[in-house]
């Protein structure tokens, strides 16, 4: 059994809605509502959801840039939602982030050398020569030419910039990298490059990834375990096999059926299937969601497979169905 690196327990991030004359808090936006996930060392954990599902907020909370309403995030057994604990553990060195938009996440007025060296300068005391050596080494890892340290971000293409982002994230030898849609802004062939580099680095340095994406194809390629988020809550957790072969929640099925398939031969059947699932989703809304439209708590179905099933006889039926399958 692999050792866990991060345990998220009952994490909640709520934003207050203020209204009325006194501007009092009248309600909350439940951006992240009671989610629990465990990420193991050296694995890629996929977090999937549509826009507004709270997946990025979860990622930010794990990195420690988003204040948490309640719940805990355990790293080495210590709750790092408190800044004091983060400092004590050097947590900000061990957990890094890769952002979606490589243009806005790199300072346009800094040279690549300074961009990549910044995290090193924060955490290590290196001489100028040692530092330059380390930057060169990092550029080598992501396959960039060594003369790029004197260039500025705008001189690179999107894929190269994203690789610089990866190099910067790897600079402090982190244990976990939160990758928030790292390839959504990239073209197909460039995406392949970045994903390959991310995989190689993972194998080389045993880094865990929290891979946040809306692209189910990419997540399938990258991660062993994954969680699906909807309306701030988890809908289904499981291994790649559980989710892609035996999806149980209607939302997961809907999401899977909506991925465009490169199968021209069967596209009519695929379309029909998609519309059936969509119809089922529309009809059974109240069966799969409670009266406030929230997702039910997760229930264990098998081993690692957890599904947000309603609390009636339906779940037994579904479990039987799965065992039969």
């Amino acid at each position: 059994m692999a050792k866990e690196i991060i345990q998220v327990k009952n994490l909640k991030v709520h934003y207050p809605i203020r209204s009325g004359f006194w501007n009092r808090i009248t309600d909350y936006v439940r951006a992240v509502d009671d989610i629990s996930i465990t990420i193991n060392e050296g694995e890629t954990y996929g977090l999937i959801g549509e826009s507004g599902s709270g997946k990025s907020t979860t990622g930010k909370a794990i990195v420690g840039v988003e204040p948490v309403t309640s719940g805990s995030i355990l790293y080495k057994g210590v709750d790092i939602t408190k800044a004091k604990n983060r400092r004590k553990l050097n947590y900000n060195k061990d957990v890094q982030m890769i952002f979606q938009d490589s243009m806005s996440s790199l300072n346009p007025r800094k040279r690549i050398e300074d961009i990549i060296a910044e995290p090193i300068r924060n955490f290590e005391n290196l001489t100028t020569d040692q530092e330059r050596e380390r930057v060169q080494e990092l550029l080598d890892i992501v396959g960039m030419p060594s003369d790029s340290i004197y260039k500025y971000p705008h001189e690179f293409s999107g894929g190269q910039r994203q690789r610089i982002g990866v190099a910067r994230a790897v600079a402090t030898n982190p244990r976990l990298i939160v990758a928030d849609e790292p390839t959504s802004a990239l073209d197909l062939s460039v995406q392949a490059q970045v994903l390959n580099f991310m995989k190689h680095i993972q194998q080389q340095y045993n880094i865990a990834y929290l891979f946040i994406s809306h692209d189910l194809g990419v997540v399938k390629h990258m991660s062993e375990n994954l969680a699906i988020m909807h309306r701030g809550r988890l809908v289904e957790i499981g291994s790649r096999e559980d989710i892609y072969k035996h999806p149980m929640h209607i939302y997961t099925k809907r999401l899977l059926s909506a991925i465009p398939q490169v199968d021209v031969e069967h596209r009519e059947e695929h379309k029909k299937h998609r519309q059936e699932v969509e119809q089922e989703f529309q009809n059974d809304q109240d069966k799969w969601y409670d009266k406030d439209g929230r997702v039910f708590p997760l229930q264990q179905v098998s081993g690692k497979h957890l599904v947000a099933l309603p609390k009636d006889e339906l779940n037994e039926e579904k479990i039987n169905e799965k065992e039969g399958a």
Binding site: E50, S51, S157, G158, G159, Q160, D187, L188, S189, V190, Q191, A192, Q193, L195, N196, K199, H214, D215, L216, G217, V218, K220, H221, M222, R240, R254, L255, S257, A258, I259, P260, Q261, V262, D263, V264, E265, R267, H270, K271, R274, Q275, E278
Partner: protein
């Protein structure tokens, strides 16, 4: 035999050049395409390959000072290239509808969405205000808008991304155009919404018998919706065929590499295929020889044509250059 009237748009030898540092560079280089009635023609390629340039050339929305368009775009024997602006305004929005990528950027934030759709009708039809209102409600119903009466009074920011895109589609089809150009209509949307919008486009196409040009970089979207596909690289069309041929028997090295780099394979442990090098910028694009040759350096130069042209390999299947005959991926054994 096809009837002549089935042909909606006939693009011949289209060159669109942009001025960069005082010189003109072809962003779309010798494009030959036809769009028939009842057909979804998909133009697919990576960013910067010139697919949106074709769209803006057709619809005449480009910077006239710094863009040079030559060739012919024939619509009902009317050449859209160099057409008088007054005449163009009559066609644009009426006969040719356009759907843009970002629905928030293509809607006026200060105008109620119903009025924005009605504006198209104001310019192109002689309906009175009441008729226009009714037509907009009808359109909103057609594009599957829940509560069309209420939506009419809303502003773009009050709508979700999917609903905004439906408004843009309603605007594009308001005057029952014969040609709809959709430039990355679903790129900004979630997959489930994307599926709905694509279904909607297909339904509209079937109802109105129009022709759609679907511009996208997503091969999945192409495989699901298109009838004809044109693959572009570096401003040129490199492969052109019906959708089944392109996905099942792709010939051009670029098409094959692109399909290979999709993260779809069953074997997840394997690395994804990477196309070596990068797309040269418009100024650095080689103007002689096969433009894709630099990305496949293991193929000997003798395999490429000196001046690659489109060859009809099978009826309806066009491929640029002859290098596909000897092309193999780098990790495959060369020579068949």
């Amino acid at each position: 035999m096809e009837k002549q009237s089935d042909l909606l748009l006939d693009i011949q030898h289209l060159h669109t050049a942009y001025r960069l540092n005082g010189k003109f560079y072809d962003a779309a280089d010798d494009i030959n395409l036809t769009l028939k009635r009842n057909e979804i023609l998909s133009i697919v390629g990576e960013s910067g390959c010139g697919k949106s340039t074709i769209a803006s050339s057709i619809i005449g929305l480009y910077d006239h000072k710094n863009t040079k368009v030559t060739g012919d775009i024939l619509y009902n024997e009317l050449n859209l290239v160099g057409l008088n602006e007054n005449l163009f305004n009559k066609i644009r929005g009426d006969k040719i509808g356009m759907i843009f990528q970002d629905p928030l950027a293509s809607l006026n934030p200060l105008m109620r969405v119903g009025d924005q759709v009605a504006e198209t009708l104001y310019y192109h039809t002689d309906m009175n205000e009441k008729e226009r209102h009714n037509r907009v409600i009808e359109l909103f119903n057609q594009v599957g808008m829940p509560k069309p009466e209420e939506t009419f009074q809303m502003y773009p920011f009050e709508l979700s991304g999917g609903l905004r895109q439906r408004v843009v589609i309603a605007m594009a089809i308001a005057c029952k155009p014969e040609i709809i150009i959709a430039d990355e209509p679903t790129t900004a949307l979630d997959v489930t919404i994307q599926a709905q919008i694509l279904d909607l486009l297909e339904d509209i196409q079937k109802q109105s018998q129009s022709g759609i040009i679907l511009i996208t970089h997503d091969l999945g979207v192409v495989a699901e919706t298109a009838d004809q596909v044109a693959v572009m690289y570096g401003g040129q069309i490199v492969e052109k065929a019906d959708v089944k041929t392109v996905f099942e028997h792709p010939l051009h090295p670029y098409t094959r590499s692109l399909l290979n780099s999709m993260p779809q394979s069953e074997d997840e442990e394997e690395d994804l295929h990477v196309i070596q090098g990068t797309v040269p910028s418009l100024q650095d694009m080689p103007r002689n020889g096969d433009r894709f040759a630099a990305r496949i350096p293991w193929i000997p130069a003798s395999a490429h044509e000196e001046n690659p042209v489109m060859h009809e390999v099978e009826p309806g299947h066009w491929v640029r250059c002859t290098c596909w005959k000897t092309f193999h991926f780098q990790d495959e054994v060369g020579g068949e």
